[in-house]
Structures are given as C-alpha cells and as structure tokens.
C-alpha cells in the first residue's frame, strides 16, 4: 500500500510518470484509508463504485505518456457539485436520491484530465454552516481530534485530504466554506475570485457570493487544481477569463488591519499564532504595513443579509414537483409546504425565513438595500487598500476547531465566519494557509492565516503562500 500521507499532487505526478507507482494502487490506498477511517469520521457520504475503473482508464493515458497535470490523481468532491448520473444531495433529505442530469463544468474539466473521483463528501446542508453539524447525514469529525468539528461547510472535503483519503478536493465557498474547514484540518484552501471558476453545476446558495475552490496539502497543489478548473464558461454568464497578475519587482507589501484584531472573541492562541506569522513574513523579507479598513467589521452583518436573501430565492426551486423529495398533500400548496417543511433541515428553514423577511416589503430598504450599499463601500475600501499593499493578512478564524455540539445558538455559529466573509463580499480571491497548531486538551489543533489579494490575482496568493510555507520550487 502507498503511504498517501507522504504524497502531494506534484510529487505523485512524477512518481506516476516514472511508473514508480500506478494509478490503481494509488486509488486502492485511498479506498483502504476510507475503509479504516470513514465509519468513525463520516467524511464520505458515498464512495463511487467505479473508482478502480476510473484509475484503470487513467493508467491507460499515463501509459501512452500523454498525461495532464492531474491524470490519475485521486480527488474528492463536495456533495453539491454535479457529476452526471451520480447522486448529489447537498447533504439534504431534499435531494437524498437525486441523480444529476449533467456534469458541473469544474468537475468536467477534471474528468477531461482523467483524474479519479473517489466519492462525494459530507457538508452542511446546502452549504449553510461552518461545522457540517447541519448535514442531514451526521457531522464530519476532525481527523486531528475526533471530538471536534472539521469545519464547514466543505468539512468533508477538507477532512478527506487531511485523513489521506484523497490528494485534493473540491469545495465551494460562499462565506468561508473552503477556507475555514481547510484551516481547521491543517490544509490549504483557496477561495478563487468570484467568476474565475464556472458555477455551472454547483448547487446555488448565494449566487453573488458562491465560488468553487480547491482544498489541498500545499499551495502548489491548490494552484494546480485551480488552474485546471478556472476559465470562462458559456453556461455561466458571470464567469470570466482572468489575466494573470504577476508581482512586480521589489519588496512585497502585506497589509494587516490590526484594528480588527481587537474585536471580541479572538482566542489567545490564534492571536499569538498570528503575531508569529507576521514575524515570519518579516523574516522572509516582506514588508508589513498597518492598514485601516474602517467598515470591515460590518462585513459579517452585510453577509448575513445578502446571503439569506439569495438563499430564500435560490431554494425556492426545491418544491417537491420537478425532482427530489416530494410529499403528498391535499392540494398543490400542501405538497410544497409539507415537502419543504420536512425536506429542509432547521438551519436551512431558518435562513429561508430570514431571507424572506429581509426582502419583504417594508423591510427591503432597511436591510437588503442598506446591505448592498455597504457592500459597495467595503469593496471600495479594499480597492483603496490594494493601491498601497499587494495582499492583506488576517487570521482565517478566531479560534481553532470547536467541540462537536459546543455552539448552541445560530448567531454564535455565524460569528465563526467573521474573517472569511469579506472576500465573498468583495469578490476577491483569498487563501487559508496552515500556520501552526494550538495545544488544547493534549491535542494539537491546526490554525490558519488568510491572505487576500485584488480580483484575479490568485498568483500573488500562490507566490506569497509558497514562500510562507517554504515550499520548494520545481
């Protein structure tokens, strides 16, 4: 059996091409790790029955020597991204038996490179949550400490990579759903620029915020997967081709909005770890600049208006008529109400009702209208800041992974997104990098830092990230 823990996508490519390992034994090793760990950790909702066949097909390509960067690489996919013929349930009872009628563009681009999709991973229902505790199919446990959450909503995807069940994974990020679980599991998570990756075939949550992004062990691996899935797509009119921004010569400036670190609720170990990260950046030759983003602390409030508003519209499609769960009722209205009442979990119902409230007449101007104006102000503030600095640094989360069941009120859960939602509000790219560990109850819990860059400047995040993690080039 191959020891997946020692492999990265980049390293595996070389081994596969040199025939030192084979796609099938690589896939078998992932399946063995799933066999050993999935029952306890609840990472995969389904392991595909054609994994070995996919691996054999990939091997045929490898044998011809015409490989792409990801040929034969085993990847996991979040349960809200469609692959034709396979179940995609968004971890909801509503879609428990739904078979996708078509394939998402991002998934298709990976299939075109003959990757091996291992299976679909657990998540918060319809991507609403930060811990996978909102999954209809049970919580995913953190591979670093099984008494704690793996983060969310892409918790299964992050845990799959951390538990050596795949070499990388696709997640989706609406308010931090790739970065926060990556940080909780000690992985790298990229939220690309809005529109840089097609949303076609991604179940819509907040359409002005959603983006598909990779979770991987290294920045180089995240970059490889991102390059494979990005690009303009005729099936998503908001998608676009990015022009590659390179860093200019000279000292790279990283802005730190120190003023937001004084807000309540940042744990001591996160603050200490963050200060150490800043020192490391300085020692690597980066210039650290104190910057002001006066309204950044309002981002979360803006997010929790815009997101539920979009959720309430997007989830109207699940009505028990066309596909998915359908419960019989006395009349058509009764079918809708019964299906949606029972098919949606508690958090999903709450957000739909909240969204209905902020969009209803009489409250629209006070909430949604104000949130949209504030969104523009925050975006302008970031654009201003990026005239002075190349990237902006914050912690990814205010604490390491919490205990399963520890957070009881919805608002308490929402506050976990405080540092991550900003990039979804502005649309810019952001990456979470593993930055060390916090020792709690004798367990070492991963911590992460977040770098944000101007729109379409993922390359800046990759360059700075690789230096921070001291990844070798080549």
């Amino acid at each position: 059996m191959i020891d997946i823990s020692t492999l990265t996508v980049k390293k595996t490519r070389k081994l596969l091409d040199k025939k030192e390992i084979f796609a099938k034994e690589l896939a078998e090793s992932c399946l063995q790790n799933i066999e050993n760990g999935n029952k306890e950790l609840n990472i995969f909702l389904e392991v595909y029955d054609d994994v070995l066949k996919q691996a054999e097909n990939a091997q045929k390509i490898i044998d011809t020597g015409k490989t792409s960067e990801l040929t034969g690489i085993p990847l996991a996919i979040k349960d809200n991204i469609l692959i034709k013929g396979k179940i995609a349930s968004a971890s909801s009872k509503m879609l428990q038996n739904y078979h996708a009628a078509y394939t998402a563009t991002a998934a298709q681009k990976l299939i075109d490179q003959n990757i091996v999709f291992i299976g679909r991973t657990n998540m918060d229902e319809f991507a609403m949550g930060s811990s996978t505790e909102n999954s209809a199919f049970g919580v995913t446990k953190n591979p670093c400490d099984a008494s704690r959450v793996a983060g969310g909503s892409s918790g299964g995807s992050a845990a799959a990579v951390a538990a050596n069940m795949a070499l990388g994974a696709l997640g989706s990020d609406t308010g931090g759903s790739v970065r926060e679980p990556a940080s909780f599991c000690g992985m790298v998570g990229l939220k690309p620029t809005y529109g840089s990756v097609s949303r076609y075939g991604l179940m819509a949550m907040g359409s002005s915020l959603d983006v598909i992004g990779p979770i991987a062990k290294t920045v180089a691996d995240a970059e490889i997967i991102f390059n494979a899935i990005k690009g303009k797509d005729k099936f998503d009119s908001t998608s676009m081709e990015g022009k590659i921004e390179r860093l200019k010569e000279g000292k790279i400036k990283i802005g730190v909005p120190y003023h937001i670190l004084d807000i309540e609720g940042i744990s001591e170990n996160v603050r200490k770890n963050f200060d150490e990260a800043i020192e490391k950046f300085k020692s690597l030759g980066f210039e650290i600049k104190d910057i002001k983003l006066p309204n950044i602390d309002k981002s979360l409030a803006v997010y929790y208006i815009i997101m539920p508003a979009e959720v309430s519209s997007n989830l109207a499609r699940y009505d028990g008529i066309k596909y998915g769960l359908s419960l019989n009722g006395e009349n058509l209205l009764d079918v809708y109400k019964k299906t949606r009442g029972e098919g949606f979990g508690e958090e999903t119902r709450r957000r739909i009702i909240l969204g209905t409230y902020v969009l209803s007449s009489g409250y629209y101007d006070a909430y949604y209208g104000k949130a949209m104006s504030a969104r523009k102000i925050i975006r302008d503030e970031f654009n201003g800041a990026f005239k002075e600095v190349n990237a902006i640094l914050t912690p990814t989360t205010s604490s390491p992974a919490w205990k399963i069941g520890e957070k009881t009120s919805p608002l308490e859960n929402y506050l976990a997104d405080i540092f991550t939602v900003t990039a979804n509000i502005t649309g810019g790219p952001a990456i979470s990098l593993p930055s060390g560990q916090a020792e709690t109850d004798g367990k070492k819990l991963p911590l992460g830092i977040q770098l944000m860059a101007p729109h379409m400047s993922e390359s800046i995040l990759f360059e700075v990230g690789k230096k921070f993690l001291e990844e070798e080039n080549g």
Binding site: Y304, V335, L354, S360, I377, L411
Partner: protein, 94 residues
C-alpha cells in the same frame, strides 16, 4: 420582538410548514440575528441607493438552445417524482 404571527406569515410566504414549537424558537433567534445585522445601518460612508446595480452590466447572448433538443430529457424525466407518458404529473391547480 418579532411576533408569532409574523413568523407564521413568513413561513407561509416561503411555503414551509413549521411547527409551533419551532416558531417560538425562531422568534428569539431571528431577533438576535436581526439585531446583529442592523449594524449595516451604521456603516460609515456614502450609502448610495443605486449601489445594487452600479458597475454591473448585463451579459447578453443569442436566444438559441444551448444544447440540442432532448439531450437531457431522459435524465430529467427519470427524476420526476410523478409522471405519466413522460409528462410531469402535478395536483390539479383549479
């Protein structure tokens, strides 16, 4: 505090059956959330009314079928909760 009737009305508008016990819980939770998000009213700066559309442009395309006819029909029909002769079957509306 948001009233029981308001929650009921919202759930009705959203076509969701909710139980009485949940309505009580939602009242407290919604109040806490709405109180928190009301911070947007204190955002400093020019709160323009047309911010929703500013800088956004329509993406136009030809009005044509993106895929050939019936390409996905079989898969879509297979997902119908109820059907008759390949037609989607629903409850009578009138």
């Amino acid at each position: 505090m948001i009233s029981k009737e308001e929650i009921k009305k919202l759930a009705d508008l959203a076509r969701i059956n909710i139980e009485d016990k949940e309505i009580e819980n939602l009242r407290g939770e919604m109040d806490a959330i709405l109180d928190y998000v009301s911070q947007v009213k204190s955002v400093a700066g020019d709160m323009k009314k047309d911010a929703e559309t500013e800088g956004i442009k329509n993406v136009m395309r030809e009005d044509e079928n993106p895929a050939e006819s019936e390409k996905y029909s079989r898969e879509l029909i297979a997902e119908f909760p109820d059907s008759e002769n390949n037609y989607l079957k629903v409850k009578r509306i009138l």
